[in-house]
């Protein structure tokens, strides 16, 4: 039966090819010394700086985490919002569970009051590109 022989030939060919390649690659020593780096040494650019910042203990390098307001933040003691730039948009969730966010621009050095009474100001933080 022709189809049956072809099937045997197909599987035999496969096994021979696989065994030969394993022999060839095992005897070649070229790749043996090469090791894979981890991204600690392999990464570059922004990814690298993010990893370095996290390794240095800063697990919020891009200042993206939600900030809990200081209870009773006043003009003299506002909640401090970090930013790498002169101004940043910030949203105040005035009451817990409120579905409305009060968005506002914050400028560095100028304290601002949300309508709920809390004060905020912008403080300088190092951008990841300069860490």
């Amino acid at each position: 039966n022709i189809t049956f022989n072809k099937q045997i030939m197909a599987s035999l060919t496969a096994r021979t090819v696989l065994r030969t390649s394993v022999r060839c690659l095992h005897s070649s020593n070229r790749c043996a010394e090469k090791a894979l780096p981890t991204s600690a040494t392999h990464a570059t650019g922004l990814e690298r700086r993010e990893l370095d910042a996290i390794a240095a203990g800063n697990d919020n390098p891009f200042d993206m985490r939600i900030i809990k307001r200081l209870s009773g933040a006043t003009r003299e003691k506002p909640t401090e919002i970090p930013s790498a730039f002169e101004k940043r948009i910030m949203g105040c969730v005035c009451e817990e569970g409120s579905t409305h966010i009060n968005w506002m621009w914050l400028d560095r050095g100028v304290s601002k009051r949300c309508e709920c009474g809390h004060w905020f100001n912008l403080i300088k933080s190092t951008p990841v590109s300069e860490m």
Binding site: Q7, L36, H42, E50, M64
Partner: protein
């Protein structure tokens, strides 16, 4: 690179590849219609060539942005992960429709095909010959690709290259065998709904095997070019997920169309 924003997201630079690939898609679809209707395949060929070109350039840019420019932060790789998962989900739905078509026609066969499945005078493939070998090949390739992944994570470079190479070889072997089967088939796509469901489902699967093999082969090339780190190799992971998906689709194809359907 000057940073204008302090965020981990990747705002990509202007690129012509989305435009060229969408134009290519248009040429391919229109060209396909032209080929079917007036037997002129030139537009289709133009579309295929320009699509291959656009795809390679686009993915080359992504590799460069990730591995060479370091723009793939943790948030970016998370986004890529989600993207690949959702794409594979869409492909699952795509194949689901072909399986629906198969079961629609085979579970309640009409009079026109002899009220039986396979239809009268249709000789299906023996599921215990080449199709069974193909199943073994894909299952074995699933093992080798998992071997490759673990080797990469455990810092074993030569083993990861070897395992990935074996996976690619098995993928090519599957495609070759399936091509031979197609050549030897006693029925064509035009032979009743049996031919239609068989060749559309297995044909699209074969196309996905070729795509998956190519993806794995490119990952092997990138591995050899030192693009990957042992804990950051998103491209390879995406290729592996895709390959497992291709394998699972074959298992469904084999059990329903080849085995139950005979």
């Amino acid at each position: 690179m000057m940073m204008h924003c302090n965020h981990p997201y990747h705002l990509v630079e202007k690129s012509p590849w989305p435009l060229t690939s969408s134009l290519s898609a248009m040429f391919m679809t229109t060209g396909l219609a032209m080929w079917f209707s007036v037997q002129n395949s030139s537009l289709l060929v133009v579309g295929l060539v320009s699509m291959m070109f656009s795809a390679t350039q686009w993915w080359r840019d992504i590799s460069r942005e990730g591995s060479l420019q370091g723009l793939h932060t943790f948030k970016v790789t998370t986004g890529l992960r989600w993207g690949m998962v959702l794409f594979i989900v869409s492909e699952v739905l795509f194949f689901f429709s072909f399986f629906w078509a198969f079961f629609h026609s085979s579970l309640n066969s009409t009079m026109e095909i002899g009220a039986q499945w396979p239809p009268t005078d249709t000789t299906p493939f023996n599921p215990f010959q080449i199709p069974m070998l193909n199943t073994a090949i894909l299952l074995a390739s699933g093992v080798t690709v998992t071997w490759a992944h673990h080797a990469i994570m455990e810092n074993l470079f030569s083993q990861s290259c070897l395992a990935l190479l074996f996976t690619v070889i098995l993928g090519v072997y599957f495609s070759a065998l399936q091509g031979l089967e197609y050549y030897e088939a006693s029925f064509s796509i035009a032979d009743s709904v049996y031919g239609s469901t068989f060749f559309v489902a297995t044909g699209f699967h074969g196309l996905h095997v070729i795509i998956g093999t190519t993806f794995l082969m490119m990952s092997l090339v990138r591995l050899l070019m030192a693009h990957f780190a042992s804990n950051h190799h998103m491209g390879l992971e995406a290729a592996i997920w895709y390959w497992h998906f291709v394998d699972v689709v074959w298992l469904f194809l084999y059990t329903s169309i080849y085995w139950w359907g005979s």
